[in-house]
């Protein structure tokens, strides 16, 4: 159980009542016995006791008032202030006030006004210039200062008589372990007299301790407070030996980073090789081919009995394990820390914020998160755009911030982390958030949103990703050319990533970028529509189901929806979207696959699900051209081509345009 002073408030209340009663009865004698030292002492002690207790047990008003009174009474008892009729008046009035304050603290009265005039009288009588900074309230003596570790040598030579006061030098030294790493401790027995002259109650031994700590010198010396006056206590900082080495390593890394920003990651110890990026890319491709070939092999074994060819199956399984590991390791070579992409931001923020006259703090978390090298390169521009946006449009000037009760210095946070099979990078600011009214107006102006519709906040927010969309009043130097956000989004989509945004007016905006760990290989679920095979990214799939007729319905006469437990989801007929011929047009005969992207769900109608595969992603753009609704293609084990569905794109299309889903009767 943690003992807290306030647990004893009630005990103090009871005690205070008694003390005040005693004070009253003593005060009644005061006028006849002005020079009775004991009486004066007792009166002083009453005030002292109330002051100490109220400060300890959490009654600041009473403590503050009594403090002045106690100072006055101390002077009275030492004869510096005379006992006059006026003094007694003041004392009685003070007693009344203390009773009031106590009663307020116990909840019996409320709103007791400050006895300003009385306090002034008290101070005047005591000839003090006012409370000396008020009553000290318990403060936490442990202020840990945030500073880096520093080495010191502490010489501690206890005075001869410290043990006679009950101090134990060894115990004092032990305390060092709580706040520092003790690197060395050397005993100094040079003062030790011969045994015959030794006084067993005296201290002769001294110590020189080398320690490493991030605490400040006064915190270290404070440990020896009790014996400081009679002991030798010298604390000397010493320069850490490794500073110069640290500087050299830093310089080295900086130089390398300047020369070749995109190469294989530099390791500071052990042997490294410089490898041209194309060689690694070709290796990745080869591994991709290997994976496809291996799955072809697996497919080919489907028709064979395990028992008839046990060694074949063993070999295929071993091959699968080896190629999976090879794949992981090769992909690992291409992984580079995000630190690289983040490196430019401290300087960028500093320069930009100065030029727009705003105070901005940049916090970057997760620099060690690793990402495929190509993705890191592609991430640079979008990130920069978001940061510039935050500085230019998101964060307010110090004046505006102060006026709205925010700290003058705004903050931008870049936070990278792993989430599921993805890397998430969030750029957030604590600025003024999006002006949704303005965005909606602009959206209507540009025809992006019909004039009679009022979409939800989420949809309004997504308008900023439309081409040519910018609500900057004037085109500023930084951003606001109106070509920003849509390019950001399409850049990210090209990397199989996505971006979403959350904004709270007055509080700030957060952009969330999601990127796959690698662009080359994806876990997918293959499905059939007619005679065609398609692949869905596994991470986007929630569940699949065959609906009952009563779960289906039509909204606004044209949008098909399905009820799944307590949600109503839009149905997308993939065979129509992709123009694939199939006999399965009734959802109750086919399968509805519920997919999700950026918080939104949709139900895709397919014929059937086939199996889970690892798909080596082949680019459509490189081999054909960009196709809406698809993010790539892959070669299946049997050699046929399967197209990979772009789930985010599909969902976005579904929600934005009222789908003219004409149902075949």
């Amino acid at each position: 159980m943690n003992v807290d002073a306030t647990m004893f408030q009630q005990a103090f209340f009871d005690e205070a009542v008694e003390v005040l009663d005693e004070l009253e009865s003593q005060l009644l004698h005061l006028e006849e016995r002005k020079s009775d030292r004991d009486l004066l002492n007792t009166i002083f002690r009453c005030a002292h006791s109330i002051k100490g207790g109220s400060a300890t047990f959490g009654l600041p008003r009473l403590a503050n008032f009594t403090h002045g009174l106690e100072t006055l009474l101390d002077q009275v008892r030492s004869g510096k202030v005379a006992v006059t009729g006026e003094l007694c008046q003041v004392l009685f009035r003070s007693l009344d006030h203390m009773r009031l304050l106590l009663s307020e603290a116990t909840g019996k009265t409320s709103n007791v006004p400050d006895a300003v005039e009385l306090s002034e009288r008290i101070d005047a009588l005591g000839q003090t210039s006012g409370p000396d900074g008020g009553v000290p309230t318990s403060s936490d003596a442990d202020e840990t200062s945030v500073q880096s570790e520093q080495r010191y040598v502490l010489r501690f030579a206890p005075g001869r008589g410290v043990m006679r006061f009950g101090s134990d030098p060894c115990l004092l030294l032990d305390q060092l372990h709580d706040i520092a790493t003790v690197l060395d401790c050397v005993r100094d027995t040079s003062d030790l007299p011969p045994l015959s002259d030794l006084d067993p109650e005296a201290a002769y031994v001294a110590w020189n301790v080398t320690l490493l700590t991030s605490e400040t010198p006064d915190v270290i010396l404070e440990l020896f407070d009790f014996v400081a006056d009679e002991s030798e206590l010298v604390l000397t900082p010493i320069e850490p030996v490794s500073t110069i080495e640290d500087d050299l390593v830093e310089a080295d890394t900086a130089i390398v980073a300047l020369q070749r920003p995109g190469d294989a990651p530099k390791k500071s110890e052990s042997a490294t090789l410089r490898v041209p990026a194309e060689k690694v890319d070709r290796l990745v491709n080869l591994v991709g081919e290997l994976v496809i070939t291996q799955s072809m092999l697996q497919e080919a074994t489907q028709g064979i009995e395990v028992e008839t060819h046990p060694r074949l199956f063993e070999a295929v399984a071993a091959l699968e394990r080896a190629s999976r590991e090879l794949q992981e390791r090769i992909m690992g070579i291409r992984l580079v820390q995000l630190k690289q992409a983040f490196g430019r931001f401290p300087r960028l923020v500093r320069d930009l914020s100065a030029s727009v006259g705003k105070k901005i703090d940049l916090i970057m978390i997760g620099e060690e998160t690793e990402l495929d090298k190509t993705l890191i390169e592609g991430l640079g521009d979008p990130l920069t755009h978001l940061v510039r946006n935050a500085i230019d449009h998101g964060l307010e000037t110090p004046d505006v911030r102060r006026a709205s009760g925010k700290p003058e210095t705004g903050s931008i946070k870049i936070h990278a982390r792993y989430e599921g099979g993805n890397v998430v990078v969030e750029v957030s600011d604590d600025g003024k958030g999006l002006d949704r009214a303005r965005i909606l107006a602009k959206a209507r102006e540009r025809g992006v949103c019909p004039a009679d519709e009022t979409p939800s906040d989420d949809v309004i927010d997504s308008f900023i990703f439309e081409p040519g969309f910018s609500t900057a009043a004037a085109v500023t130097d930084l951003s606001g050319r109106g070509v920003g956000m849509d390019i950001v989004r399409s850049t990210l989509q090209d990397m199989n990533g996505s971006i979403s945004m959350k904004s709270t007016p007055g509080q700030g905006t957060t952009f969330r970028i999601r990127l796959p760990l690698t662009m080359a290989i994806m876990e997918g679920l293959s499905l059939r529509i007619g005679s065609e095979v398609y692949i869905l990214p596994l991470t986007s799939i929630i569940e699949s189901l065959r609906p009952l007729p009563e779960d289906l319905s039509l909204v606004a006469g044209q949008h098909e929806v399905v009820r799944v437990r307590d949600e109503v989801l839009k149905i997308v007929r993939l065979h129509e979207a992709f123009g694939a011929d199939t006999a399965v047009t009734d959802p109750c005969r086919g399968l509805l696959v519920i997919v999700e992207s950026e918080g939104q769900k949709v139900a895709l109608l397919v014929d059937e699900l086939i199996t889970q595969n690892q798909a080596v992603i082949k680019s459509l753009e490189a081999n054909y051209r960009k196709v809406t609704g698809l993010t790539g293609a892959t070669i299946l084990g049997d050699g046929t081509v399967a197209l990979i569905i772009d789930v985010p794109g599909l969902i976005r299309g579904t929600y934005r345009e009222p789908a003219a889903a004409t149902r075949a009767a």
Binding site: F8, H48, T137, F165
Partner: protein
């Protein structure tokens, strides 16, 4: 054997708080409401000895400094750590304490955990 602490203070709420704090931390506690009572408690303890004394200074009948001076005359209390509860840590106060044989001080007002931290300076864990 749990360590025995003698707490001396004329404020009963203060004694309660210190006593509870110490007991929760595993100590056994003796109490006195002024210096004279405290001396009696000390003499009545097993072997006339306690492991630690914590005393207020402003008390009726016998104040803290006098109590400390007297306590130190007992051979069994010659090296016992004695902590003063003081509202100020002025050099004068410290010197007065040292003169009568106090080991150290705790500044009032204090929170229970601060008390335990200071005790660590003079009493092995």
């Amino acid at each position: 054997m749990p360590k025995l602490v003698l707490i001396v203070d004329d404020s009963s709420s203060m004694r309660q708080m210190v006593s509870m704090t110490l007991k929760t931390a595993g100590f056994t506690v003796l109490e006195g409401s002024n210096g004279q009572e405290a001396l009696n408690r000390l003499d009545g303890a097993p072997g006339g000895k306690v492991d630690l004394i914590i005393t207020d200074l402003n008390m009726p009948i016998m104040d803290g400094l006098t109590f400390i001076k007297n306590a130190r005359t007992r051979p069994s209390a010659k090296f016992t750590p004695i902590l003063m509860l003081t509202t100020e840590s002025s050099d004068q106060r410290k010197a007065e304490g040292k003169a009568v044989g106090a080991t150290g001080w705790i500044v009032k007002p204090f929170q229970p955990d601060q008390l335990l931290r200071v005790i660590q300076k003079v009493l092995p864990a």
